[in-house]
């Protein structure tokens, strides 16, 4: 269950990347990264809970989770759905305790990164620092975008944005951008979008009637991207950039800085 990432390994990745196409990395993580353990979470189980002492960051290796926060009154707001390559637990940094719960929507596996270790990398390497910073800031940017959606958009527009966002994330992982599974329930999706589950269901049905998508339970097919772009209010598929993933589909870390 251990996955040591060595400098040699990193160098290898570096070579492969340079050979491929993109600008060569300018810096290679000089550290011998410590062993990185994994953890499995069964469907319905919690990876971490709000209030729990913050010690770990998690990188999703495979599976899906929902992050959500509960106010004191049982108000629940789903703050995001995490798939492979996403990081879970960042909200624990400020207070020393996780602020959101994360529950697996299917059997899921994550890498475990002890946070003190992350801090050490961050302090000892300019790139590590940059990476951690960028990751946190990315979280901010994502939340901000979601805030804009919740504050200014109509239900249909939010739904279109959500579908396109998920599409892009899956595409970026090497999966189909037009067919995927919505592992969350309509209720969770509604919570994420600031809608009721009935409204979500109606919206999906309507989009299907109009020939924009095809829905059958949890499986979705996007049929008419231009229509979705129009609904989402974007000229084309040009949302904010997806950062280089920290981890690939096989579970290898990708600690290589790009030239900038």
């Amino acid at each position: 269950m251990e996955n040591a990432v060595t400098a040699a390994h990193l160098l290898h990745r570096n070579d492969r990347r340079a050979a491929a196409n993109s600008p060569a990395p300018v810096e290679i993580m000089p550290l011998q990264l410590p062993a990185c353990s994994r953890r499995s979470v069964r469907r319905g189980e919690a990876l971490c809970s709000a209030g729990e002492s913050f010690r770990m960051l998690y990188v999703v290796r495979c599976g899906t989770l929902k992050s959500f926060l509960m106010s004191h009154h049982g108000l629940v707001q789903v703050t995001g759905f995490r798939i492979a390559g996403d990081i879970v637990g960042l909200d624990g940094i400020s207070t020393g305790a996780y602020q959101t719960d994360a529950i697996a929507l299917e059997d899921t596996e994550v890498f475990v990164l002890p946070f003190p270790q992350c801090e050490l990398w961050s302090r000892e390497s300019a790139y590590g620092q940059h990476l951690l910073m960028r990751t946190l800031a990315q979280e901010i940017a994502g939340n901000r975008k979601h805030m804009l959606a919740l504050g200014t958009m109509r239900a249909e527009q939010r739904m279109a944005m959500f579908l396109l966002d998920f599409s892009r994330r899956y595409e970026h992982l090497g999966y189909s951008r037009s067919r995927f599974l919505l592992r969350m329930t309509r209720k969770d999706l509604g919570s994420y979008l600031g809608l009721t589950l009935e409204t979500v269901s109606r919206l999906l049905s309507r989009l299907q009637r109009e020939g924009t998508i095809q829905v059958q339970g949890k499986s979705v097919a996007l049929l008419d991207f231009p229509a979705l772009w129009r609904l989402a209010g974007v000229a084309s598929d040009c949302p904010n950039p997806i950062l280089e993933p920290i981890i690939d589909r096989l579970g290898n870390f990708l600690f290589a800085a790009r030239a900038r």
Copy 2:
């Protein structure tokens, strides 16, 4: 226009703090902090704009600003109102360019912190690192809370929360918690709360009719806190903690870590 913060100065603050009451700081910033310049922004002018190259962080010394983001379609979402002690510009870290505009709602003065400098402090001192991290994470937490408001709450509840939040922030700065000015327009407030300006106006009028608050143009008085707590849906005034300010009312930096 220069305000050098010296180690001696910090030590002095430390003594004063310890003499007062609170747990003594465990660590003093060992660095000679570089000179810190100020910048004035007139009402209506921009402190920084989205897309602009990210070089500085700003700490509000006095005045008020609104942060907002504009989508490609002219959709505007106000993401926050910044008063003394708040930090502006954090959203620039991820992409190297600011993602939100910040405009002064009144004549405003800020301290200018060159970000490379911040990174240096962060790397050279565990406390500096912690401070920067905590600040970023705080931003995340705040946005998250706002997301919950936009996603799950009714207009009246959002308004109550907003009033109580502002009340607490002013109180924390040493001002009255029950009387303050809403320097933003109804439209900006509406944008922040995900409402139209008419709804905002109606809500304020209603709260006044019910004796909960008193409004006259931009000046507001909170008359019935229990009623506001009830509307906001909190048992009492127990929201998330306000972090130690980084700067005091006189413009002195407070780089002293507390025991924990």
